[in-house]
C-alpha cells in the first residue's frame, strides 16, 4: 500500500476503483528543411490542414463554447502569419513551422502572471495536435476510452480528450498537470466527479489496473489499499453522499408550509465571510459591513481599493449583497478618524452622522460602491438614521456621486437600491416618512433594543434588560414593517434575533421579507422557516404584540402547543 499526497483538489469526493491510464504521445513534427520554391506548397498544406481541423470540430463547436473558441484560434491570422514566417524565412517544413509557431504563443501565455492565461497554453497544445494530425494524415485522433467504471489517470485531460468521453464510466480523474481552472477541473465539478490535479509523477507510480482510493476530500491517493482502509473509505463515501444531499436540500429557498418565501441572507464583514455565507446556502448577503476596510491601520481607504473589494465581494456572492456604509462611533473607533472621547458614545457621533459630516470620505465610499454595482447586484444601506433630513441629504449625495460617474462614462447599476437601517426610536416613529424616500428597511435589532429600552447590553447591571422579545421592541418592529409595506418596500432584520430559531416564528409572523444571520445559522433558520405555517405565525405574532410585559411574551412563546423547534 502506498499513500500519495495529492496536488490540488479540483472536484471533491471519494471514489474507489481501478485505475486506467490514458497514454498520449505528443506528435512530433517531421524533420527537415525546405527549399524556397517549396514554401508556397507548404503554406497551402497548412491552409488545408486548418480546414480539416476546423471541419473535425464543427459538430463539437455547436455544443461547446470551448471548441467554438478552438475554431477561432485555428483560423487566427496571427498564427498563420507566424507559420508563414517560419516557412518562408526560416525555411521550415510546414509541420515544424506549426510546431514552432504554437510554441511561440505558448511561451507568451506561460510568461504571464495570470494563472488562468497560463493554463490556456495547454489549449494551444490541443490545437497543435489537431493540426499535426491533419498534416500527418492520420484521420481519427481519438483512441476509444474505457467502458467499464474506472478512475482515469493522464498527464493532462484536454477538452478534446473529454469530448467523446462516456462520463458514466468515469469514477474519478487524476492528472499530473493542470490547476483548478483547467478544463478537466471545470468539467469534473460540473458533473460532480471527484478529481485531483497537479499530481506530478502519478503516471510513474500507478500501473494500469491498479486498485486505488481517490480521496479528493482529504487530498490523497491510496494505491493498493488494505481491506480495512477500503472498508473505512466506503463508509466515508456513503457519509459524504448523504451530507451532500442534505446540504443541497438545505440550500434550497426557505418557504413556509403554506408557501410564504423568506429570504435568508447572511451577515459578512470580509470577502471570505461572503464565500462562507454562499457556501452555507445564503440567499444573499443581507449586511456587508465595511468597517474592516477602514480598520487595517493604513488610513482611509481610497476609492480604488474600496471598489476592488466591493466588486470582488459582489462577484463572490453571485447574489444580492447589501453594503452598509461606514458605521463607526465612540465604541467602534477608527485610528484614522478623530472621534475623540465621548461621554455617551452610543448617543454620540456615529453612523450616518459621521459620513454626512465627512462628505469626502462618504462620497468616496459611495462612488466605489456605485462602480462595483456594474459587476453584481448591490444595494446600499445607511446606518443610524434618525431623521428625514439625514436620509434626504444622503440620497442627494448619492445622486451627485452618480452624476459624477456619468460624466466620466463610468458604468454603474442605474437601478441600484438604497435603504436605511431602522435602529433608533426616531427611525421607528418616522418610519412612514422614511419609507417614502428609500427603497428598503433593515432593522438592526441589537442597537434598536438598547435605544428603545434605554439599556446598555455591555453593562452588567442592565444587560438582562436588553430583551429583544420585549413587547416595546416587538411593537417597534411591527410598526416599522407596516410602514414599509404600506409604501411597498421590503424589510429585513439583521440583528442577533434573526439567528434565534425561537424568534423565527414571530419575525415571519410580523411579515418580515428577509432575515440576515451569521453564515453558520443560515441552515438552521431556513429549516425553522420551513417548519412554520405563515398564517398561524401571523396570528401568533399579532397576539404577542398586544401583550404588555416581557414575562407575558415569554409565557406565550413557551406555552404554545404548536411550538416547533427545528431538529
Amino acid at each position: 500500500m502506498t499513500e500519495i499526497q495529492a496536488g490540488l483538489i479540483a472536484s471533491p469526493g471519494i471514489v474507489l476503483g481501478r485505475a486506467r491510464l490514458l497514454l498520449k504521445e505528443a506528435r512530433v513534427p517531421a524533420d527537415g528543411s525546405i527549399l524556397p520554391q517549396e514554401a508556397e506548397n507548404e503554406l497551402t498544406q497548412y491552409d488545408l490542414a486548418v480546414e480539416t481541423a476546423v471541419g473535425d470540430l464543427e459538430q463539437l463547436a455547436e455544443k461547446s463554447a470551448v471548441f467554438a473558441a478552438y475554431v477561432d484560434l485555428l483560423t487566427d491570422f496571427a498564427l498563420r502569419e507566424s507559420v508563414e514566417q517560419n516557412i518562408r524565412e526560416k525555411l521550415q517544413n510546414v509541420q515544424l513551422a506549426v510546431y514552432n509557431a504554437v510554441e511561440e504563443f505558448r511561451a507568451l501565455f506561460l510568461s504571464t502572471s495570470d494563472s488562468y492565461m497560463r493554463e490556456r497554453s495547454d489549449d494551444l497544445l490541443d490545437i497543435r495536435e489537431r493540426l499535426l494530425c491533419a498534416l500527418q494524415g492520420d484521420g481519427e485522433i481519438r483512441e476509444p476510452l474505457y467502458q467499464e467504471p474506472h478512475i482515469l489517470l493522464a498527464e493532462s485531460l484536454t477538452p478534446s480528450d473529454t469530448a467523446g468521453m462516456n462520463f458514466d464510466s468515469a469514477l474519478g480523474f487524476i492528472t499530473e498537470k493542470g490547476g483548478v481552472t483547467s478544463h478537466i477541473a471545470i468539467i469534473a465539478r460540473e458533473r460532480s466527479i471527484p478529481a485531483l490535479v497537479g499530481v506530478t509523477g502519478i503516471m510513474q507510480n500507478v500501473s494500469d489496473g491498479d486498485f486505488l482510493i481517490l480521496d479528493a476530500a482529504g487530498g490523497r491517493i491510496l494505491l493498493n489499499p488494505t481491506p480495512e482502509l477500503i472498508a473505512e473509505y466506503r463508509q466515508r463515501q456513503i457519509r459524504m453522499h448523504r451530507e451532500q444531499a442534505a446540504l443541497q436540500a438545505e440550500r434550497a429557498p426557505a418557504v413556509t408550509r403554506d408557501g410564504r418565501r423568506v429570504l435568508i441572507c447572511a451577515n459578512a464583514g470580509s470577502i471570505s465571510a461572503v464565500t462562507r455565507a454562499i457556501f452555507q446556502g445564503a440567499d444573499g448577503v443581507g449586511l456587508f459591513r465595511t468597517e474592516f476596510l477602514y480598520m487595517d491601520g493604513d488610513g482611509i481607504p481610497g476609492e480604488e481599493e474600496q471598489f476592488s473589494t466591493y466588486r470582488e465581494s459582489a462577484m463572490q456572492a453571485g447574489k444580492e449583497i447589501t453594503i452598509r456604509t461606514l458605521d463607526v462611533g465612540g465604541d467602534k473607533k477608527l485610528s484614522c478618524l478623530n472621534i475623540g472621547r465621548e461621554e455617551n458614545p452610543f448617543l454620540g457621533w456615529r453612523g450616518i452622522r459621521v459620513s454626512l459630516e465627512l462628505r469626502e470620505i462618504f462620497s468616496t465610499q459611495l462612488r466605489a460602491i456605485l462602480r462595483a454595482s456594474a459587476f453584481g447586484k448591490i444595494r446600499v444601506m445607511y446606518p443610524m438614521v434618525t431623521s428625514l433630513e439625514e436620509l434626504m441629504e444622503a440620497n442627494k449625495l448619492f445622486e451627485q456621486c452618480k452624476s459624477a460617474l456619468d460624466q466620466k462614462n463610468i458604468p454603474f447599476d442605474r437601478d441600484i437600491k438604497s435603504g436605511v437601517m431602522i435602529e433608533t426610536p426616531a427611525a421607528v416613529i418616522l418610519a412612514d416618512e422614511l419609507a417614502k424616500h428609500t427603497d428598503f428597511f433593515s432593522i438592526g435589532t441589537n442597537d434598536l433594543t438598547q435605544y428603545v429600552l434605554a439599556a446598555d447590553r455591555g453593562n452588567l447591571k442592565t444587560a438582562q434588560m436588553c430583551d429583544p422579545f420585549h413587547p416595546a421592541v416587538l411593537r417597534c418592529m411591527q410598526s416599522a414593517i407596516r410602514a414599509a409595506h404600506a409604501c411597498n418596500i421590503k424589510v429585513s432584520v439583521c440583528g442577533e434575533i434573526a439567528a434565534d430559531p425561537r424568534a423565527t416564528r414571530i419575525l415571519v409572523g410580523l411579515d418580515i421579507d428577509e432575515l440576515s444571520v451569521v453564515p453558520g445559522s443560515v441552515g438552521i433558520i431556513k429549516r425553522a422557516v420551513r417548519e412554520l405555517h405563515y398564517g398561524r405565525s401571523k396570528k401568533f405574532a399579532q397576539k404577542l404584540c398586544l401583550l404588555s410585559s416581557s414575562s407575558d411574551v415569554s409565557a406565550a412563546m413557551a406555552d404554545t402547543k404548536t411550538q416547533m423547534l427545528p431538529k
Binding site: 487566427d76 491570422f77 496571427a78 504563443f105 501565455f109 504571464t112 492565461m117 462577484m315 459587476f375 458604468p411
Partner: protein
C-alpha cells in the same frame, strides 16, 4: 478615426472564449482596429494577440478604429463588449 475607452465587465475578462468572440467581431470590421490595455497594444482581430494582452475584469481598455467605416465599427464593437460576450459560468459556484 475614433477612439473610445471601455471598462471590461466580464467576470474573466477577455480570456479564451470571450477573446475569440470579440476577435471574430473585430475581424468582421473593415476598419483597422487597435486595442490598448495598460502598456500593451494589440490587433484584436487575432484572438491569440488579444489573449496575450491579458485583459481582465475591471480593466479599462482603449479601442481605436481607423477607416471609412470606423463609426459603425466602433458602435458594433462597443455593443459586442456590452452585450455580446454572454458568459456561461466557468467556475460553478
Amino acid at each position: 478615426m475614433t477612439s473610445e475607452r471601455v471598462i471590461i465587465k466580464n467576470q474573466f475578462g477577455l480570456h479564451m472564449r470571450t477573446a475569440a468572440i470579440f476577435a471574430r467581431a473585430a475581424a468582421s470590421c473593415r476598419s483597422t482596429i487597435t486595442l490598448i490595455s495598460g502598456d500593451k497594444r494589440v490587433n484584436p482581430k487575432s484572438a491569440l494577440f488579444l489573449m496575450s494582452a491579458c485583459v481582465k475584469c475591471g480593466d479599462e481598455i482603449t479601442l481605436i478604429c481607423d477607416g471609412p467605416t470606423c463609426e459603425q465599427d466602433m458602435r458594433f464593437l462597443l455593443d459586442t463588449l456590452e452585450n455580446g460576450l454572454s458568459e456561461e459560468p466557468e467556475v460553478p459556484k
